[in-house]
Amino acid sequence: MDIIISFAIAVLFATGIYQLLRRNVVRSALGLVIISNAINLFLLAIGAYDGTVQSYAKAIGVRSDALPLALILTAIVISMGGFAFTFAMLYIVMRRYKTADIDAITELKN
């Protein structure tokens, strides 16, 4: 299972990076969401030992690690806030320069 989830995370991550490198600002922004999904999956996989017993079960026994789950819970919300903020910035940039082509925005150069 490790290899499957590793592969899935890797593909998600690569997809996100590829999106990020695109010229289209909108698509670049989407890349950020994909990357954070990949990272959350990674955290989840780290804590998933056997993946059979629920983390909130009343019985103590073999189970997924609750700590990474709590971290992911926080990470999901935070990354949503961060993404919204980033997108707002990109949005302003797009509106101000009237283009969604990142290479056309060169005002910061020199």
């Binding site: 299972m1 490790d2 499957i4 989830i5 592969f7 890797a10 998600l12 991550f13 690569a14 997809t15 990076i17 590829y18 490198l21 695109r22 010229r23 289209n24 909108v26 698509r27 989407l30 969401v33 994909i34 999904n37 999956l41 989840l44 996989a45 780290i46 056997d50 993946g51 059979t52 629920q54 983390s55 909130y56 009343k58 189970r63 609750a66 789950l69 709590a70 819970l73 926080t74 999901i76 919300v77 935070i78 949503m80 806030g81 961060g82 919204a84 903020f85 707002a88 910035m89 949005y91 302003i92 509106r95 101000r96 283009t99 969604a100 082509d101 990142i102 290479d103 925005i105 910061l108």
Partner: protein, 966 residues
């Protein structure tokens, strides 16, 4: 009355008080005690910070505080216009100066009382920075800026070398504490690194103390206001290098290298300063070069390192600080009054007649500078010559050098005294009575307070020279304990002015005789040799300028990489990051027996399917032609991830993932609606035309990143420990401590409550930032955020139904100004209250069941999103009067704080889990499983904040309905 005088007197109280305190410590220190104060800073790294006061520190501390007080009083007058012809200043317009001086004093005191190398270095850098601020004080003057930059670059560069040297020293000695380093002196000197660390430390000290060849920053630093020059660039800061070398003498000193390095640098500096200073035209430049010369003398003495040399060092430091401080202050008074510092121009004025008091106050320091008895300067020279003479190494050249420097210094003193104040013997233009009257009106003695500083320093130069008359006088004691601290052993101190007819006295007499000769013919000598190549100021400056030019060229080369393309930066970052990680060993196949083994587990197929969904949908979002499709695909991918989480099973997290994914999708869709389709189409077309090689390159980078991630994951997953250290604690304690069966929920709101509180703050701030960015920042720039597309004209639409609420007309228009279907509106109206109920239940039972404040908040936010879709942004917020994002975020935060503080009433601590319903006996009335506890309050707070922040996001990103015509 100008306020600066009060400011000067008031701020001088601080150093004066410190001076008194330090002076009171003298008997303790002289008895051999050492005051120290240590703080454990980073104990795990063995780092401490602290202060320690011994004789050497005390000597410098007294100079810093004593002269500091006088300089501050003086500065109060310096910044007051001298007479009515000058424009009045604003009250406190120069308050900045006093702040800088006090700041500098803190740094400088820190340097001389630092108990370890790190503390010393931090304060050392502080003095460089404040010196920069002071030299560039008149920042509108290009010359001042240039001088300040030069001083900062040279002393700052030396500071970097010093840091490296000190760290090496601390590393070899095994401690940063001076006392421990001294104990390891033999080890330090035997270390192969010794020459390197000595070189680096000396570089730091030489640049700071203006030793050849780094001396030329000091004359340029004279653009600072004169009080600062007197204080920093003569009496104290430039002596930091001297202090450092004297401080480190017990650890580093005494070797051949030490001797050669310091003595040769000091010797050259001494001669150079003395000779070059003689040929200067500017009053302050003369003083600067004579300071350089004296610094050379002191450096040479440390290099010498004998007990007599250390004694001479202490005496020389005091003597120089007193007379040079006074001379600088005098130069400031002259400049203030005559508006020139040019010796040639001053000679035509004959200021002595108009400023007799100033002249009188200058006599003593000038005599002390000249090294004439019975002043402290004489003692300084005498002890110096004695130290040189004592070392019978046959260094006859040193003797001649010292005599020559002494002679030139005397000539400089004569220049400063006579050329400044006396009129040239054959005045040409200013001889008439009328001119005299005009001058009398124009030049006059300054107010008494202005003269206090120079007069007191001059008087001390005289009075302190008679310290030997007392039994164990303060200066003798001070010099003794300072020299002892530097030398590392007891030093015999006898400061009698006349010690019998001996060699030093003879040498002194020769120096005085030659000096008087030079002084007599100074004008002829100055005009004759003044144009010599060697004496031109540009020589050493060329070195600095060459360095700066090569730096700029290098910078241009380096910044050539930055071509302005964000994508290039990103690519480089990913490549660099990946390469570095691989370099450090991420590239290894994990040690697992059969990595391709896929265990059979229940629901394995479903798990693989959901991963497949996540990946495939993400890929689809890349390939999709339209942005909207891509966003939907992205949402699907997020749901795939949620499914994986749910299968874990971890319903809490899965729930949050699902609804956050939906909210993200909603916001993105709303924002897309506001971006002109044309613009997005254009970007798409441009992207299509991109060169195949560029695409392949990006594909390669992405592939590399994927591969890298794959390796990291595989390594991490196969090598992860199967038993967590922390989690069992949470599992066992969550029920007894927090009363929660849901461990994840307990971690979020109880165990890591503080974390979560910060998290909701961040989330709230994100919402507020988005709102203010788009609403205000863009308005300021005149960004056109509305009418994104050519919406079909409003008139072509059916008339919007109007709604009367509280006498205000609300015209109901949804996205794009179109009237949405009544069914959608009805659904939205119904779903919002339902969502609030769901949210409330989530929170109430969140402690034992899946679901928590985040889920609750986002559920409500999504319902609000639906309202926005159905009614448009403005209408929604008009209808939902309770929906005030700012208040919601704020009250959420308030609830957290109150909820966390409330347990204190019942004797609990801040942020401790507490059940209020049990404590107040209300639990009987609550439904089973529900409770009013801190966790419940926390969930409510999270929910409120999330609703507030998310609705701000919705409000911002949703399109403004097209102009309402009514």
């Amino acid at each position: 009355m100008d306020k600066h005088r009060y400011l000067g007197w008031a701020s001088a109280a601080i150093p004066a008080g410190l001076f008194a305190w330090f002076a009171a410590q003298l008997p303790t220190i002289a008895a051999g005690a050492k005051l120290s104060y240590t703080i454990n800073w980073l104990p795990t790294l063995g780092l401490q910070t602290g202060f320690s006061l011994d004789g050497l520190s005390l000597l410098f501390a007294l100079l810093i505080t004593g002269i500091g007080a006088l300089v501050l009083i003086y500065a109060g007058y310096y910044f007051t216009p001298h007479n009515a012809t000058q424009p009045a200043t604003q009250p406190f317009s120069e308050a900045r100066f006093f702040a800088y001086i006090l700041l500098f004093m803190v740094c400088m005191l820190g340097v001389v009382t630092a108990g370890d190398v790190i503390t010393l270095f931090i304060f050392w850098e502080g003095t460089s920075i404040v010196s920069f601020l002071l030299v560039a004080y008149k920042y509108k003057d290009a010359e001042a800026r240039r001088g300040a930059t030069k001083a900062l670059i040279i002393t700052g560069g030396g500071g970097v070398a010093l840091l490296a040297g000190l760290l090496m020293l601390a590393n070899v000695a095994g401690s940063t504490q001076f006392s421990a380093i001294f104990a390891q002196a033999a080890l330090v000197k035997a270390s192969p690194l010794y020459p390197v660390m000595l070189g680096l430390v000396a570089l730091g000290a030489f640049t700071k103390s203006a030793q050849f060849p780094a001396h030329h920053w000091l004359p340029n630093a004279m653009s600072a206001p004169t009080p600062a020059s007197a204080y920093l660039h003569s009496a104290t800061m430039v002596k930091a290098g001297i202090y450092l070398m004297a401080r480190l003498f017990p650890a580093l000193g005494g070797s051949e290298l030490w001797f050669g390095l310091l003595v040769s640098a000091g010797f050259i500096t001494m001669i150079l300063g003395a000779v070059k200073g003689f040929f200067q035209q500017d009053l302050k430049a003369v003083l600067a070069y004579s300071t350089i010369s004296q610094l050379g003398v002191l450096m040479m003495l440390i290099g010498w390192g004998s007990s007599a040399a250390m004694k001479a060092l202490a005496v020389g430091t005091i003597a120089h600080a007193l007379y040079k401080g006074a001379m600088f202050l005098m130069a400031g008074i002259v400049d203030h009054s005559a508006h020139t510092r040019d010796l040639g121009a001053l000679r035509t004025l004959g200021l002595r007649k108009y400023m007799p008091l100033t002249f009188a106050a200058t006599i003593l320091p000038a005599l002390s500078m000249a090294g004439l008895p019975p002043l402290l300067g004489f003692l300084g020279k005498e002890t110096l010559l004695a130290a040189i003479e004592e070392a019978h190494g046959g260094l006859i050249v040193m003797v001649f050098g010292a005599i020559l420097a002494g002679a030139f210094t005397l000539a400089q003193a004569a220049m400063l005294l006579f050329d400044t104040f006396s009129r040239a013997s054959h005045p040409k233009s200013h001889s008439s009575e009328a001119a005299n009257h005009a001058h009398a009106a124009k030049y006059s003695d300054p107010p008494f307070g202005f003269l206090i500083g120079p007069a007191l320093l001059g008087a001390l130069s005289l009075v302190l020279a008679f310290d030997w008359l007392l039994e164990a006088g303060p200066i003798t004691t001070l010099v003794g304990s300072a020299a002892k601290a530097a030398y590392g052993d007891k030093v015999k101190v006898n400061l009698a002015l006349f010690q019998g007819f001996n060699l030093p006295l003879l040498m002194s007499a020769i120096a005085i005789a030659i000096g008087l000769g030079i002084a007599r013919y100074r004008h002829r000598l100055r005009t004759k040799f003044g144009s010599l190549w060697l004496l031109q100021p540009v020589r050493m400056d060329a070195l600095y300028r060459g360095f700066m030019r090569s730096l700029e060229l290098g910078a241009k080369q380096a910044t050539g990489l930055q071509n302005g393309s964000i994508r290039t930066y990103l690519s480089l970052m990913f490549i660099g990051f990946g390469a570095l990680t691989l370099w450090f060993g991420a590239w290894r196949w994990p040690a697992i027996a059969n990595p391709f083994l896929i265990e059979t587990q229940p629901l394995q197929a479903l798990r693989v399917f959901s991963l497949l969904l996540a990946v495939a949908a993400a890929l689809a979002s890349v390939l999709a032609r339209r942005d909207l499709t891509a966003i939907i695909a992205l949402g699907a991918s997020g749901l795939g991830v949620a499914l994986v989480i749910a299968l874990e099973p971890s319903p809490d997290v899965a729930l949050v993932q699902i609804i956050v994914d939906i909210l993200t999708t909603v916001i993105l869709v709303m924002a897309m609606d506001r971006l002109p389709a044309k613009m997005r189409d254009a970007a798409y077309k441009i992207e299509r035309q991109e060169h195949i090689l560029t695409r392949l390159r990006h594909l390669a980078i992405a592939g590399g990143a994927g591969l890298f991630m794959f390796m990291v994951c595989l390594n991490a997953l196969s090598g992860r420990p199967r038993n967590s250290i922390v989690t069992p604690f949470y599992e066992q304690q969550s029920k007894p401590l927090t009363g929660a069966a849901d461990i994840v929920g307990a971690i979020v709101v109880d165990f890591r409550g503080f974390d979560t509180m910060i998290e909701i703050t961040v989330f709230g701030v994100a919402g507020a930032a988005i709102y203010s960015l788009l609403r205000y920042a863009t308005q300021k720039h005149g960004d056109d955020l509305e009418d994104a597309d050519e919406v079909a004209p409003i008139a072509a639409q059916p008339a919007a139904p109007k709604l009367e609420t509280s006498s205000r007309v609300i015209s109901t228009r949804g996205i794009g100004g179109r009237v949405p279907s009544a069914l959608v509106q009805l659904a939205a109206q119904a779903i919002l209250p339902a969502s609030i109920i769901v949210a409330f239940v989530h929170m109430l039972y969140g402690h034992d069941q899946p679901g928590d404040g985040f889920t609750a908040g986002v559920i409500v936010a999504i319902a609000i999103g639906l309202m926005v879709l159905a009614y448009g942004r403005i209408d929604t917020f008009k209808r939902l009067r309770w929906l005030r994002p700012g208040y919601l975020i704020g009250s959420g935060w308030l609830v957290v704080m109150m909820g966390s503080l409330a347990p204190i009433v019942w004797g609990q601590v801040f942020f401790s889990p507490f059940d209020f319903s049990v404590a107040t006996g209300l639990d009987r009335f609550l439904p089973v499983g529900a409770s009013i506890s801190t966790s419940f309050l926390f969930e409510i707070a999270i929910c409120l904040t999330v609703i507030g922040s998310a609705s701000w996001m919705l409000q911002t990103f949703a399109r403004e309905p097209a102009k309402i015509t009514d």
